[in-house]
Amino acid sequence: MTDTYDEQLLLDFVEGELGPEDRARVEKLIARDERLGRLLEDMRRDRDTLRQLPEPPTPTWLMDEALGSLERTMLLEPSPDETEARVNHKRGVLRRLSFTAAVAAMLLLCTFVVFQSLTNLAGPDVAFHSEGEHEDSEPILPGKGGPMIAKSNARAEQAPANPDVQSDPIAVHADRQSDPGTTVLIAKGGPAAGRQEALGQQAEPEIAVQQRAITSRAGTQQDVAQVAKAGPSAPGPQVHQLIVETPEQFDLASLVNEEIQLSPEEIAALEVVVNTNDVTLTNDQLISASAHLPQTNLIGPLTTRNGQKRVDPVDAQYMAQVSYKLEIPTDQFNNWVRNVSQVERQKQVRAGQRVVFQRRYETMDLARTWPRSKPDYNAILTEQLPLLRKTKATAVEQSSHTAVQAQNTKAAPRDDKKQVVINIPVYVNNDRVQAVQPTANRALEIEQTDAPPGDAPVPQTE
């Protein structure tokens, strides 16, 4: 007998999950065929046997291994709390690092600012000026309209940034590396002004005396008389001293302990002026000092372009100031200053702007040194030769000083009130003419009767 049964119904009967109705259906089937009943009963017994299978002994190492694996995992993998703690720790570290970096940056900035301020306050007694406009402009004779380098011990005063300063015949140049106590005054003027002076003519009142208050190192203020336009209401001849302190205060020896880094451009524009009483000795000493710096190209005032150095004893007799054009590597500048200072000892060594040109009245040998390519200043100055020779002879006879008084004798009938008398040593080299700062015993004096213009400051009266 082959029959077909619903397995779902039979399974539920074996599992004991049938309801009363289905159970009755199955019991009817079992009653009809008792073999089915025996089979279902065997299946129930098998089920019970399976459910009552004894639990085998479990190896103890199984759980140990599992716990060991769990411990390793716990050690290797941080828990979420630990992860969060680590993240927070990292964030804290980053915050601290950021804060520290910010504080360090602020400190560095403050240090830099303070250092800059201190550097500017205690700057060197050196004024550096670019060659700029005077270098390429026509030579200008010193005087009212000519280029003039003066120096004071007053605190440097920054030239106003307004354009009016450029038009001012007197410009105050205080380089950022200059000593605050050093003010270099460069009297600007057109070639015509210098030419007029060279011709001995009465200069037009282009130059007046301008008074500016400049703070000295000690914090006090000193009035520095500067050349400016003279006003028509000046009561009478006045003498204005441009140099208010002796040049020794500008000794470059004070720079020895300061590290000065000059760019090649600044080096190229640098001229060192040495005040000495024995130019021959000084020249030799400077050459000797520079010999220790092989890369330094020292060109003395009487040195030819090919580097051959010589000193004219005749010239040396009258030369109290010597200008040297230097080509010094930037990193050797301080060494050079140190060497020169050791050579010169008490002498003044001053670095300043490369001169525009120099003029040397004493030698009178203008034909030998005057540049041919320049305007005919030779002819201009030749007209002054008799006067200059006479002045020199007088000076030699008196042997009192080396100052030369240059007077414009060829000027047209001039108004005494506008007469300007300049006592200034001026040197001439083979290419440029410059009004050089006088030494202490040769204070630059300007006599003039003109009063400054109404809008100009009251001139300093000595």
């Binding site: 082959t2 397995e7 065997d42 199984l62 759980m63």
Partner: protein, 216 residues
């Protein structure tokens, strides 16, 4: 004779699962401690070899520890754990089947049959049970274990999950990732196959006994 393994209550299991999800690996240890004997028992009945059972149990617990972060808690932890165990066991059996010869002459699959099962043969084999057979002896247990060993792994998995782990159809369906109807079908066929093997054994033993009686 039967020693039921310690079982966690549903609430306790959920509590431990929450602790595990919060990173408390100690709770994971407690869960494994509660289930490792059941797992080993299942593997032993599934694989029929203590060493293989231990290896699979160890592997299953290691995987559970490794991947407990993926357990979302939507099902019971035991369900998730036995899914790992069954998959590992079936894979192990399939690998082992390739290596060894079939020990049984006619293993019953029954999977390719239709919804209804011809029971004529089984009913013909069924005999009036001996009253002594109604008492469960160690010999019956051993015979059951040996019979289980020769059963198809898919049928055996369902039977073991149902009888050893006492899971309902839904849980078995979750573990095996099968529909509940398929689970019931496999369970019935598995019980029939098991019964057939047991009946054959019983008949062989009975015939062997008759021969011994007739021999003198």
């Amino acid at each position: 004779m039967t020693a039921q393994p310690m079982r966690l209550s549903i609430e306790r299991e959920r509590q431990l699962v929450r602790q595990v999800q919060q990173g408390d690996r100690g709770a994971m240890g407690e869960l494994l401690g509660a289930y490792h004997k059941r797992v080993y028992h299942h593997c032993l009945r599934m694989l029929g070899h203590p060493e293989d059972a231990a290896d699979i149990t160890q592997e299953a617990m290691a995987r559970a520890i490794e991947h407990v972060g993926r357990f979302t808690g939507k099902s019971r932890f035991s369900t998730w754990l036995f899914r790992i165990v069954v998959n590992l066991s079936i894979s192990h059996l399939r690998k082992r089947k390739v290596r060894r010869a079939t020990s049984l002459d006619n293993p019953i699959s029954g999977l390719d049959d239709g919804g209804a099962v011809p029971l004529s043969q089984l009913m013909a084999d069924s005999t009036e049970p001996n009253p002594a057979d109604r008492v469960q002896t160690s010999e019956q247990v051993d015979r059951m274990i040996r019979t289980l060993d020769g059963l198809d792994e898919n049928l055996k998995s369902v039977i073991l999950l149902r009888d050893l782990q006492e899971m309902d159809y839904r849980e078995i369906a979750e573990v095996l990732d099968l529909p509940v109807g398929t689970v019931k079908s496999r369970l019935f066929r598995g019980r029939l196959a098991l019964r057939r093997q047991l009946s054959r054994g019983e008949n062989d033993q009975r015939h062997h006994g008759d021969d011994e009686v007739a021999a003198p």
